[in-house]
Symmetry: C2
Subunit: 238 residues, 2 copies
């Protein structure tokens, strides 16, 4: 696992390629800006997985365009068909007050699935670097946002693939993993990320306006306040 992006090596004469998971949220937008700042040619990947908040994908497109990716792919994925999360299952309500332990917004094995697909694309592209915007400080209790998960996935990637077996190892970068939300916002702001383009809310309206009440909204608003950066989030009730 690498917390900080190392300087990329050459790829066929050009800058090295990286695959960056891009959800359309604040964390992944910052991660993309960090990967670009480190000199990678960034290939962004998003997933259309039956998430309730479709405006996430529109946000991912805006962020990819604003940060000048080489390419942005949206991969369709029947994850919602398997059920089990408030984020993909209409029968489960999104909580509006803090909960103990792992919340119902946890989508089973989501980051494992997303990274597996990103890994497959990286192998096709000849990219050895993968970026994911997970964060273990403000992580909302998700098991697949912890350093142990990142380390286990990197180990898996290097036995699961032709590239790994043939001596071109993958590096899984999680540059936000030890940062607070305020630190993430300060880093992204310094790199020119327009957070008004991003959507973090678990329960936004069709136009992408945030509820201001879910876990993700609370963490995000507290982050802007702690960073001393004006909050550009459009809210439903304001």
């Amino acid at each position: 696992m690498s917390r900080d992006a190392e300087m990329p090596r050459e790829h066929g004469g050009g800058p090295a390629r990286a695959v960056v998971l891009l959800s359309g949220g604040l964390d992944s937008a910052t991660t993309l800006a960090l990967a670009r700042e480190a000199g990678f040619a960034c290939h962004a990947i998003s997933f259309d997985y039956g998430q309730r908040h479709r405006c996430e994908l529109a946000a991912a497109r805006r962020v990819a365009a604003a940060l000048g990716v080489v390419e942005h792919r949206i991969v369709s994925l029947g994850l919602g068909e398997l059920g089990g999360s408030a984020l993909t299952d209409e029968a489960i309500d999104v909580p509006t007050t803090p909960t103990e332990g792992i919340p119902v917004t946890y989508v089973p094995a989501r980051n494992t699935v997303f990274l597996a697909l990103a890994l497959g694309w990286a192998e096709v592209l000849g990219a050895q670097d993968l970026f994911i915007g997970v964060n273990a400080v403000d992580y909302s209790g998700y098991p697949d946002c912890r350093p142990a998960f990142i380390e286990a996935f990197e180990r898996l990637a290097n036995v699961a693939t032709r590239a790994g077996v043939e001596g071109r190892p993958f590096r899984l970068h999680a540059p936000l993993i030890a940062l607070s939300k305020a630190e993430i916002i300060r880093r992204g702001t310094a790199l020119g990320v327009d957070y008004g383009l991003t959507v973090s809310c678990y329960d936004p309206d069709a136009g992408g306006r945030a509820c201001g009440r879910c876990d993700a909204c609370r963490l995000r608003a507290e982050g802007f306040a702690a960073a001393g950066v004006p909050d550009p989030t459009p809210y439903k009730n304001k």
Copy 2:
């Protein structure tokens, strides 16, 4: 990793549930029969990932029905959109002679992606057992069919999920991993698997008739011959 299925524990009063990857091929059909024989309530999962040979999914449905699964889900997945394999990319020909090293029929990170989705479903179902029909003897050179891959995925599963973190660990069973094709066929035949329902060929016709020439056909035909079991495979040119 478990090579042999252990006796399943109870699940809410009924038999323990297992999620079984079912491709429609000979190996996964045998794996499903072994999981059922071990006493699991089997939930089969297949993937519609843009594979050239759509008749695989019809075969998976036939096998699931014949072996009496509790449920069979086919999850759609834009894996083919990412390219890079003769099995999903029309621009890459399926080889008809043996090749050195990892062949072009390798789909980047395919088993990682499939297991990740199976893991997510297992967590939703409360299943702690996953079955995959990989085989390291006649494995055609795929990195994600080796014991090291199975072990790394099981380790990942137990840090990636709520169940793993909360002390309900997953077991990833690969009961065929050390068997020859002939041994697989003998075991399946003893359990009543009808291999005439399965499709292994990389380049079948629309009706599911096998080419008889690709790596998968060669291994399969040699397996029936070595097992001394009549080959029920329908071939195109016969």
